[in-house]
């Protein structure tokens, strides 16, 4: 197994390799970023704030397809991790690029959704619901883009035989992005009452 790269990625003072511990710390901080937004969204909704009935205007089909795409991308990145643990660089590389492809499909559907909503006048300033909608989904989309870029860089590294452990780390991050969407989907698309 290739163990090139900074010593911090292999050291394991806590029993958890430092690279993985760092990834979990990052995700713990992300809980506050998305959790804070979700908490405020729920509070405004419980308070009966005007505008939240606009949740009925979002497309459940588009949201459900995007959930399916992200769940499937989670499968492909975890298979990439399983493949690299067996030292199969090519299979892992392929699975990583399936995941990046799924990310592109997700962003394509999101762009289609945004375009439709904006053309109908539902912009970020229309009311509080749309402010939350664009902020939460936009921030999530930025995380998707960031994950795809990092995955692409890692895929070329592992082909050269470097930093295999990073497939697991980006996988954990990607699953978290999927996990956030699992909560955004019912909040923004399903709970329209």
């Amino acid at each position: 197994m290739s163990m090139h790269g900074p010593i911090a990625t292999h050291r394991s003072a806590t029993g958890v390799p430092t690279g993985r511990l760092g990834t979990w710390w990052l995700l713990a901080s992300e809980i506050f970023i998305f959790g804070g937004l979700i908490a405020c969204f729920i509070l405004f909704k419980l308070n009966g704030t005007p505008g939240f009935e606009d949740a009925s205007l979002t497309s459940v089909t588009a949201g459900a397809v995007n959930t399916f795409v992200l769940l499937t991308s989670s499968l492909s990145i975890v298979l990439a991790h399983a493949a690299i643990e067996k030292g199969d660089q090519n299979k892992s590389f392929t699975y990583i690029w399936y995941t990046i492809g799924a990310g592109l499909v997700f962003l394509g559907i999101k762009t289609y959704e945004y375009t439709g909503k904006i053309l109908h006048g539902h912009t970020i300033t229309e009311n509080l619901f749309w402010s939350f909608y664009y902020t939460m989904t936009g921030l999530h989309a930025l995380h998707v883009i960031g994950g795809m870029v990092i995955m692409a860089l890692i895929s070329f590294d592992i082909r050269k035989g470097y930093n295999y452990q990073r497939v697991e780390l980006i996988g954990i991050y990607w699953h978290f992005v999927d996990l956030i969407w699992i909560f955004l989907f019912p909040l923004l698309y399903i709970a329209n009452f």
């Binding site: 511990l21 499968l75 996988g171």
Partner: protein, 109 residues
């Protein structure tokens, strides 16, 4: 690199995640709000658990990681209840409803 452990059957877990997704989409079709909350958010929690435990390997991870995440969620709970009065209590001498009265936003800029 990760420690040795038997990888779960990822395809099987993905299959159950998709089944749960279908249930959460079908739930609102019955038009019972209480049931929608259960099928939407209850299933979201189950899906999140499946992803975290199996795909993120949390069930194989050292306990320190679970403690870290539980601590983050507890602090998020503190944030939730700390912010709740600011959003939900709409009375008092200093209260201005900025959602209904947009001029107050301009005053504060």
């Amino acid at each position: 690199m990760s420690e040795a452990y038997a990888h779960p059957n990822y395809v099987k877990i993905w299959f159950w995640l998709v089944v749960l997704l279908l249930i959460s989409v079908a739930g609102p079709m019955l038009e019972i709000p209480a049931l929608t909350i259960i099928t939407a958010f209850g299933i979201a929690v189950i899906k999140a658990f499946l992803v975290a435990a199996n795909f993120m390997h949390l069930k194989f991870e050292k306990q320190i990681i679970s403690f870290l995440l539980i601590l983050a969620l507890c602090l998020l709970g503190v944030f939730f209840f700390g912010v709740a009065p600011d959003i939900m209590m709409t009375d008092g001498d200093q209260w201005i409803d900025c959602i209904a009265d947009k001029s107050c936003v301009e005053q504060r800029l």
